[in-house]
């Protein structure tokens, strides 16, 4: 296993290196550079622009710039943002990433939580009216024009009902004198979600040893409720609960939008995967064993059909940059997607490259995660 991970990491480095090169060349091919924007101000003399170019590392041969860049990236230095000069790119990403990560993590988990059981259900009920209705609804949300959905949600929930603010990730009046940075709150939220997932998994595995299904399920449910209660209590007592709640409250609409858009993908994949599995002989065997329908569906069919869905889900997590552009713009959620969009529009190469490279690394690592996850979930696979 470790050997395999090592080998995969080596592969990943090669792919990443190629990716890096392509990204670099791509941005090199973009005409002009950041300093072109000063051409709009005639009182800035050309020498000043050249000085800036020099400072930003835009002079010198392409090859030198490339070597410099590669060396920097491999030493963990993504360079200095032009727009936020002289902030480091990594610093900007560090500031924006937790927002995006928490938003999309929650939304993707929710989408998975909705799509997985629905897919399971409609595959089992295939050909019935509910199958068609849910499928068509799922496809509709899946293909809906994202800005449109965002605007509808904003209009309904923010404008008509007035339940939520029309954008942003926090209420300035709440955050005038906060004891913590919002980044910290985002990180803590992410940690909470991660912790709940990890402990939930732990509970699942620990209770596996409980012999009979009924007490096992009871134990699982109550322990998970306890866990959630503890998490809620922890936040309540932490003293920064109001701040966290403000963020969560702002998250509602974007999370809803992303969930609606992406649950269909999981659902349809799950449905197809289920349909494939329920043709397998072991499903007939399970039925022949006299197992109740629900057990056959959940334990035998859905568990095996889960595997491709997991892959899709995990890899999908990597594309928060491109997926986030529309959502983040619509809901004024200044995260990675918007950062990238702005960076590209303003020709802030280091920042745009940083975002892309970050996505690249994330996707590559998630590929690895999927492989490792598979080794856990699918006993047929061992490395």
């Amino acid at each position: 296993m470790l050997r395999y991970i090592g080998w995969r990491l080596a592969q990943i480095s090669v792919t990443f290196f190629l990716f890096l090169t392509v990204v670099f060349l791509l941005f090199q091919a973009m005409p002009g550079d950041y300093t072109k924007q000063f051409i709009m101000n005639p009182r800035i003399p050309p020498e000043a622009r050249r000085a800036l170019q020099e400072r930003l590392g835009l002079t010198g041969s392409v090859w030198d710039q490339y070597l410099h860049y590669v060396r920097n990236v491999f030493t963990g230095n993504l360079g200095i943002s032009f727009q936020y000069y002289p902030r480091e790119v990594w610093d900007v990403i560090k500031e924006r990433l937790p927002r995006t990560a928490v938003l999309f993590l929650v939304a993707d988990l929710l989408a998975f939580g909705v799509g997985y059981p629905l897919g399971k259900y409609i595959a089992w009920k295939r050909g019935k009216l509910s199958d068609y209705a849910v499928t068509v609804t799922g496809v509709l949300f899946y293909t809906i024009f994202t800005p449109l959905l965002a605007l509808i949600l904003l209009f309904v929930f923010s404008n008509v009902l007035g339940w939520f603010r029309s954008g942003g990730f926090l209420t300035p009046s709440v955050w005038l004198r906060p004891p913590v940075d919002p980044q910290v709150v985002f990180l803590l939220l992410a940690a909470t979600i991660g912790g709940i997932l990890a402990l939930g998994g732990g509970i699942f595995f620990l209770t596996k040893r409980i012999g009979h299904p009924r007490p096992r399920n009871w134990a699982r449910r109550s322990l998970i409720l306890l866990l959630l209660a503890c998490a809620a209590l922890g936040w309540y007592r932490s003293g920064i609960g109001t701040y966290a709640w403000d963020i969560v409250w702002h998250m509602f609409l974007p999370v809803l939008a992303v969930t609606l858009i992406s649950f269909g993908g999981t659902m349809l994949l799950m449905r197809d995967s289920m349909l494939e599995v329920i043709r397998e002989d072991y499903i007939t065997t399970a039925k022949a064993k006299g197992l109740p329908d629900k057990v056959v569906r959940d334990k035998h069919a859905a568990r095996t059909a889960l595997l491709p869905t997991i892959t899709n889900f995990t890899i999908g997590l990597g594309f928060i940059v491109s997926g986030g552009i529309v959502t983040e713009t619509m809901f004024s959620w200044k995260g990675m997607g918007l950062t990238y969009l702005e960076a590209v529009l303003q020709q802030d190469f280091p920042l745009a490259m940083g975002c892309l490279i970050f996505t690249g690394i994330l996707v590559l690592l998630l590929h690895l995660v999927v492989d490792v996850l598979y080794a856990f979930l699918d006993p047929r696979i061992s490395y």
Binding site: H212, D281, T285, A288, K289, L291, H300, R303, D378
Partner: protein
């Protein structure tokens, strides 16, 4: 009272092109502890009968008549919940493709334990002990209980599937082509093992196979199916010695053997009928060398030509007293 009494069972599959006459007016009986064989070519309805007995037919199957009396209870009419209890506890099955009848993501032992716990109120530990007994019975080392199916060889999987079928002490085990995909030496091992277990546990056994040589070796009584119909049923030795239906005769003469004289094989002319539009009268008549005018008009009655030897043919070859 026989353990299982199938009376005039008729079952069709509904498709867009029309009804597939998969099982047509089939009747036979199985006594407790007895091994019977069901032989026939692919698509003749053998497996459909097995699935009908367990009520595991796909959605488009239509049960059109007849009774399946298991210990006097008509399985075609009891509620699903009751049927669920009969599955595996009353009738269990060894599926055709053992490779695929184990769920790849669960340990083999757990899949058997699941079946046991589903029917018997015993603890996990006890159930596991039972599994190791079963493994010993079918000739599997106990250390493979906690392995996954993909770690088993083909023969081991087949044995595990057999162990699973025996897990709840069923009264009847249906073995659907239990050894088809296996090499002869493994096949020989497994058939011998099943037979031993059957005798030891006094279970009834229904073998389904296309290979009459295998059926000849393991079953006491034997039914021959052709195109959804049971054309001949009787004691194995009797049928081999005095086959009455022309199809049975043809089947036997089409089969090469390594024993005895090398003789010329007699292939059957033509192809098995399309069950969407089975021929009128006797379904075998288009390929039958002995067909007469009546064969094309009316289906022959299924009747006893000597004690315990039933045939559905207007012109049986032998045996009619």
């Amino acid at each position: 009272m026989p353990l299982l009494d199938v009376r005039n069972l008729t079952m069709h599959y509904v498709t867009k092109m029309g009804d597939v006459h998969a099982v047509d007016d089939v009747s036979f009986m199985i006594e407790a502890g007895e091994a019977i064989g069901l032989v026939g070519e692919s698509g003749c309805g053998k497996t459909s009968i097995a699935l009908t007995l367990l009520r595991l037919l796909p959605d488009n199957a239509r049960f059109l008549g007849g009774q399946v009396l298991f210990e006097g209870k008509d399985l075609t009419h009891i509620p699903e919940e009751e049927m669920r209890k009969i599955r595996w506890r009353g009738i269990s099955m060894i599926f055709q493709a053992a490779m695929n009848s184990l769920n790849p993501v669960y340990r083999v032992g757990d899949q058997i334990i699941e079946a046991i716990q589903n029917h018997l109120p015993i603890s996990y530990r006890e159930a596991k002990r039972r599994v190791s007994e079963l493994f010993e019975l079918v000739g599997l080392p106990p250390e493979v209980i906690d392995r996954y199916p993909h770690e088993y060889s083909g023969g081991m999987k087949q044995r595990a599937v057999i162990a699973m079928a025996l897990a709840c002490d069923p009264k009847l085990v249906i073995a659907d082509e239990p050894t088809t995909a296996l090499d002869v030496i493994v096949q020989d091992h497994i058939l011998r093992r099943i037979d031993e277990v059957r005798k030891k546990l006094n279970m009834a056994m229904m073998y389904i196979s296309h290979d009459i040589a295998v059926i000849a070796e393991v079953s006491q009584r034997l039914g021959v199916m052709y195109a959804g119909c049971l054309v001949e049923f009787g004691d194995t030795v009797t049928i081999f010695k005095r086959p009455a239906h022309p199809y049975t005769v043809a089947l036997m003469s089409a089969f090469p053997s390594i024993k005895g004289e090398k003789r010329k094989l007699q292939g059957l002319p033509g192809e098995p009928p399309d069950l969407l539009q089975p021929p009128l009268g006797c379904r075998f008549h288009p390929r039958c060398a002995y067909a007469t005018a009546i064969c094309a008009q009316r289906a022959p009655r299924y009747e006893e030509i000597e004690p315990g030897h039933l045939v559905a043919c207007w012109n049986p070859r032998s045996g009619r007293a």
